[in-house]
């Protein structure tokens, strides 16, 4: 049958992983990268072809293939089954497309790293699991991908495993994801209990055929799924792992922690929209979590100095947007923003990577500035990204963000409030992005010049062990470069360019009717959200005027953010510090990320460890469990000593015992019945 090749989409990267993972160590770098790129290019091509096939008129809306059963017991069967609908198509596109670009970029970025083969093997492994995730036809298979990407991210974050911080970050990421999985698993158990199956089609059909089945256990399932999503997509309260994940190489941050993996949560929620539609309560929770995360993360992002962390918090906040969208039932908007965000955030990260590469490892924005002439391509491409995320038309970010805000506004209940939060967040976003932009590319140069760069770089790398080779390489680079700060090679800049382009035009697929477009993506996804018509109705009812008004407002807010950033970090660079000095406590609070990590460790981790060590390990295990056995032994030997005390060795005493025993026996025999 024709869609068998669906299998190839995930399996090819897996093959790549196997090849590089087992033999890569002995391969030359060229070969490694060739394998890796090939194994990501092929799926991309396949997806493109698939796309074409499914856009073709009369093409089935859903492709499904079922293969061997994976788990099969009486009463429950779980198959290896893939399904492709339009939602999947979009995800596939993002994953393979952006994924491929980032692979290309990595070839340049990682060129001098040791463990090159390892890196690409892991990347391919990630691609495999990510594709399984989006293609899965059952909750459990989705969970496979879900865990798999978690694993890949664990391995990649801990890529510089000699660095304790890196290893820690990897562990942290995995464990926080596990907390999410805890929810996901429980949701699946409940699903099995309620539906006896984990296939999407089966479950969702079962729900749709019971129109009056709302809330109840569905809410439970939905909330548990939300917990899972929060873990994967770094939402409150489980977002803390994402900033630390920046310990990984920058392409990893771009691919996994910006474009693809972290959006898995949103994808999952959207995939289960049938379920969520039946549980307004859960949806409300989603929306609130989203909004809260968005503004919270943005506020932290405003004061970070590490360029990658700024981007990380911005990612969290953007993911919050998407959650918000899902929460108000605007799944399309969520996916739309997911799409555009994939483009510009990937772009931003890669750009940041390029900057770091240029400064040979420097990540602190306070040590940057004035780079726009040194690395023009990076500058221009990154500018595109900044503008896009800031939400200035006609860049991609504007359309998707605006859609979300609009949908939030028109959704009843908390809608207005959510909209306001989103709006504020938009302002903050544009502020901290431009702050980054100004601090990095404008103003005086704070980075050290070429001559003493090495020691500095060495200093940087000494603490980040993995780069050792890179430093060495920079010496001879320095030989034929005029100065240490240099533009990245083409293999890195080309992906940047492409992504820049995408983050300009990417949004045009979703131009709302109000702006004279006709929201293709909406129609494209319609078969998936056949239930999403409600929001559609709202649009027409309210009319375009409102939509335009809101758009204008958000644009203004964005520009305001731009202006403030301009004033603070270009016009009068002191004002920021002055402002910070005005409210030092607040500033410190925000700069230290509201001490969330500390709170977690103080409230949860330390008590748990103490409890285990003292109560469980010491009292129960050492005391009761082992103590009881020892006590029994002591009692036995004590009695034994008693018995041996009788054995005084003196004949007369023995005779005494005999006499006593005799008397006892006589008593028993004579009065036996009576005393028995």
């Amino acid at each position: 049958m024709p869609s068998d090749y669906l299998w190839l989409i995930p399996l090819v990267p897996f093959a790549g992983f196997l090849i590089n993972g087992t033999m890569g160590r002995r391969f030359p770098r060229v070969l490694v990268s060739a394998v890796a790129l090939l194994c990501t290019a092929i799926p991309a091509i396949l997806v493109a072809w698939l796309w074409i096939r499914m856009r073709a008129p009369g093409a089935p809306e859903v492709l499904q293939i079922v293969s061997q059963p994976w788990i099969q017991i009486t009463g429950l069967t779980i198959n290896f089954a893939f399904t492709v609908d339009h939602l999947t198509l979009i995800m596939l596109g993002v994953v393979t497309g952006v994924g491929f670009l980032i692979h290309v970029y990595s070839v340049g970025y990682m060129a001098h790293e040791e463990g090159y083969w390892r890196f690409f093997a892991y990347l391919n492994l990630f691609m495999f699991f990510m594709l399984v995730l989006v293609l899965a036809e059952s909750f459990l298979l989705l969970f496979v991908g879900w865990e798999g990407v978690g694993l890949a991210s664990y391995l990649l974050i801990g890529f510089y495993f000699q660095k304790d911080s890196a290893a820690n970050a990897g562990k942290k990421a995995f464990i926080f994801n596990r907390v999410g999985d805890f929810g996901f698993l429980l949701a699946m158990f409940l699903l099995v209990r309620e539906f006896g199956s984990l296939d999407f089609s089966h479950v969702f059909n079962a729900i749709t055929v019971n129109p009056d089945w709302r809330g109840g256990v569905l809410t439970a399932i939905a909330l548990l799924l939300v917990l899972g999503a929060a873990g994967k997509s770094a939402q409150i309260p489980l977002y803390v792992w994402l900033p630390d994940a920046m310990e990984g190489p920058t392409p990893v941050s771009a691919l996994i922690h910006a474009a693809t993996m972290v959006t898995a949560g949103i994808y999952m929620v959207v995939r289960c929209h049938t379920l969520f539609d039946r549980s307004p309560y859960a949806l409300g929770v989603v929306a609130i979590i989203g909004a809260a995360t968005a503004i919270f993360a943005a506020s932290i992002g405003m004061v970070q100095h590490d360029i990658k962390r700024v981007l990380a918090y911005s990612t969290i906040s953007q993911l919050g947007y998407m959650f918000l969208a899902c929460g108000v039932g605007a799944y399309t908007a969520g996916i739309f923003h997911l799409l555009t965000h994939a483009f510009f955030k990937a772009l931003l990260f890669l750009g940041a990577g390029s900057v770091i590469h240029a400064l040979s490892g420097e990540q602190d924005m306070r040590k940057m500035g004035g780079l726009r002439k040194r690395i023009p391509i990076t500058f221009w491409t990154m500018t595109m990204g900044v503008v896009a995320i800031a939400g200035i038309p006609p860049w991609a970010g504007f359309f998707s963000k605006d859609e979300i805000l609009y949908q939030a506004f028109v959704s009843g209940g908390l809608g207005k409030f959510l909209w306001f939060v989103g709006l504020v967040t938009a302002g903050m976003t544009s502020f901290y992005m431009f702050r980054l932009w100004f601090k990095t590319f404008w103003g005086p140069e704070h980075f050290d010049e070429h001559d003493d760069l090495h020691d500095h770089g060495a200093a940087v790398h000494a603490h980040s062990g993995g780069h050792a080779v890179m430093v060495a390489d920079h010496d001879d680079e320095a030989a034929h470069h005029s100065h240490g700060v240099h533009e990245s090679p083409a293999i890195m800049t080309i992906p940047l360019a492409i992504l820049a382009l995408l983050s300009i035009i990417g949004g045009w697929v979703g131009v709302p009717a109000a702006l004279g477009g006709h929201n293709e993506i909406e129609h494209f996804l319609e078969p998936v959200f056949s239930t999403g018509v409600t929001t559609e109705a709202a649009t027409t009812a309210v009319g375009h005027g409102l939509e335009l008004g809101l758009a204008a407002v958000s644009v203004l807010v964005a520009l305001l953010g731009l202006y403030v950033a301009y004033v603070f970090y270009y016009k009068k660079p002191r004002t920021a510090a002055a402002l910070a000095a005005r409210a030092p406590a607040l500033y410190r609070l925000v700069e230290n990320k509201f001490y969330i990590d500390e709170i977690y460790s103080a409230v949860i981790i330390t008590p748990v460890l103490m409890f285990s060590r003292l109560i469980l390990g010491g009292l129960i295990d050492g005391g009761i469990v082992n103590g009881s056995g020892a006590a029994a032994g002591a009692a036995a030997s004590g009695l034994g000593a008693l018995v041996r005390k009788v054995q005084s060795g003196n004949i007369r005493s023995y005779a005494g015992w005999l006499a006593l025993g005799a008397a006892a026996v006589l008593v028993v025999m004579v009065f036996g019945r009576a005393i028995w």
């Binding site: 005084s648 005493s653 005779a655 005494g656 015992w657 005999l658 005799a662 008397a663 006589l666 004579v670």
Partner: protein
């Protein structure tokens, strides 16, 4: 008649026994044991066991006790010194002994009516047939024990030889 004999010699036996208990010198104990045996012989006779009475006098007080006295002399055992042995002997033993006695006598008294009482002399009033019956029984019905006793005595002799002979 019976009663008188019983009271006199029973009392004598008990007295002898107590004397054995109280005397500190083995010889005195031995002699008091002889007294007990003699008085028991009388009681045997009064119960119509004339043969046993004789045997008691000859074998027991004659042979065995002489043997005892002989060994006492041989090892010239003197006054037994009051070493303090184990307290268990007293703390445990005497209650035990007392209990044994009480239980036994309790049982005997309980059953005394069923046991009836006995008149002087045997149920056969001429001694010869008593002995003849004993011998008859001994060589017919209880032949085997009688024969086997020889083995017992053989063992005893062996033992005496093995144990008492000085290692060279």
């Amino acid at each position: 008649m019976q009663l008188v004999l019983f009271i006199i010699f029973g009392g004598l036996a008990v007295a002898g026994a107590f004397n054995l208990l109280l005397q500190r010198h083995p010889i005195n104990s031995a002699l008091s044991l002889v007294v007990v045996m003699m008085s028991l012989a009388v009681l045997y006779w009064s119960l119509g066991a004339e043969f046993l009475a004789a045997a008691q006098v000859i074998v027991y007080s004659g042979a065995i006790m002489v043997f005892f006295v002989f060994v006492i002399m041989l090892l010239n055992a003197g006054e037994e010194e009051r070493t303090k042995g184990s307290r268990a002997a007293y703390l445990v033993g005497f209650p035990g002994a007392a209990a044994i006695f009480c239980l036994l006598s309790f049982v005997f008294l309980k059953e005394s009516h069923a046991l009836g009482s006995s008149s002087v002399g045997g149920y056969l009033n001429h001694i010869t047939s008593n002995i003849s019956e004993i011998s008859a029984l001994l060589f017919t019905k209880l032949l085997l024990p009688f024969e086997v006793t020889s083995v017992l005595i053989l063992v005893a002799i062996l033992g005496a030889v093995v144990l008492a002979r000085k290692e060279q």
